[in-house]
Symmetry: C2
């Protein structure tokens, strides 16, 4: 019987996949940069720096002509800015985040206001807000949505989409969705689409 | 200034519309029957009987060749049974109920289980269950849904649609939807579509 030892204990599927893509790219192109750090794991960041994968804090600081979008993904606006600068993109957006981005986009295109259960400043959530095309709001506090809805709900009919930052926890999401649904039951329609990562 | 006096105080848009259709039909065909009483209003039922519109309790008791479906609507199965008997249908289903029926049908066809917030024995709800094609459940008690979901939620992914009997009250619906959403936040997707009558 063969025993496979986990090489990177604690790294999720999306990050393992990204590391592989980044190491392949660094080996092919020489030095590349990532838009923000690949992970919060400092050991991993240092291992990648040694392999030629360096984090840039902001698009303005990028010097390489090869730039990787991290697992957290980014907004269509940032992608477009990168292209304008003729920088080649290596997209390591986690497939589960990509699915959440597509959901945000589809909801916004179908006329839904998009509520994202997540940390507004997190780069994944910033990306999701971008895909919601200006029709999104991110919060962990359902009461904030309640206050907003009180201001609009008697003025015009509205359609509400609810998604989640992929790494939030199920019980907190359940409570949030329940509260928002109660606040929003005067809406024409509510669509909650579960974008939590089910693999973690 | 002209003052319009309401002729039938207390009758909603759907019933007023149905009464007009029934009186026109009785005047055209002579005697017709309705599948169940047109309304709970006994005065109105008697007025219609005088005009030639008689309620039949059940399809088996229908003697006329002209039968009206009431504002509450009915299921596709009953409609099909009426057609099998070569009885001409006058459909006075309230347009708001029709919309709820279409919503139940669309949700079921899209693979959603359909939860109807309503009285399970009410004829409108019986009709809605019919349009949900065997994938529906009707209740006023969110906890009942919670119990059902506990039995299924770890077994397979599910999609949940929530609609309402058109005459339920907004605050009770809001509470119900909030509770069900909390119970069901492990689902792949929840769609709440507001089928309350907004005219009453």
């Amino acid at each position: 019987m063969e025993i496979d030892k986990a090489e990177e204990i604690g790294l999720c599927f999306g990050v393992r996949r990204a590391v592989k893509l980044l190491e392949e790219a660094a080996s092919k192109y020489g030095e590349i940069e990532t838009l923000g750090p690949v992970a919060h794991n400092q050991q991993l960041v240092e291992r990648l720096i040694k392999a030629g994968v360096k984090p840039a804090r902001h698009l303005n600081q990028v010097q390489s002509k090869i730039l990787a979008v991290t697992t957290h993904g980014t907004s269509p606006k940032v992608l477009s800015e990168i292209k304008t600068r003729h920088i080649h993109i290596i997209d390591t957006t986690c497939p589960i985040v990509r699915k959440a981005q597509n959901t945000a986009k589809e909801l916004a295109e179908a006329g839904f206001d998009v509520i994202i259960f997540g940390e507004a400043e997190h780069s994944e959530v910033q990306g999701l807000l971008g895909w919601a095309k200006g029709n999104g709001i991110a919060t962990l506090d359902a009461k904030q949505i309640g206050t907003l809805l009180k201001q609009v709900q008697d003025k015009k009919p509205y359609h509400l989409g609810i998604i989640s930052q992929t790494t939030q926890l199920q019980p907190a999401l359940a409570e949030f969705v329940g509260q928002v649904a109660t606040f929003a039951a005067k809406s024409k329609e509510i669509r909650f689409i579960n974008t939590l990562c089910g693999i973690v």
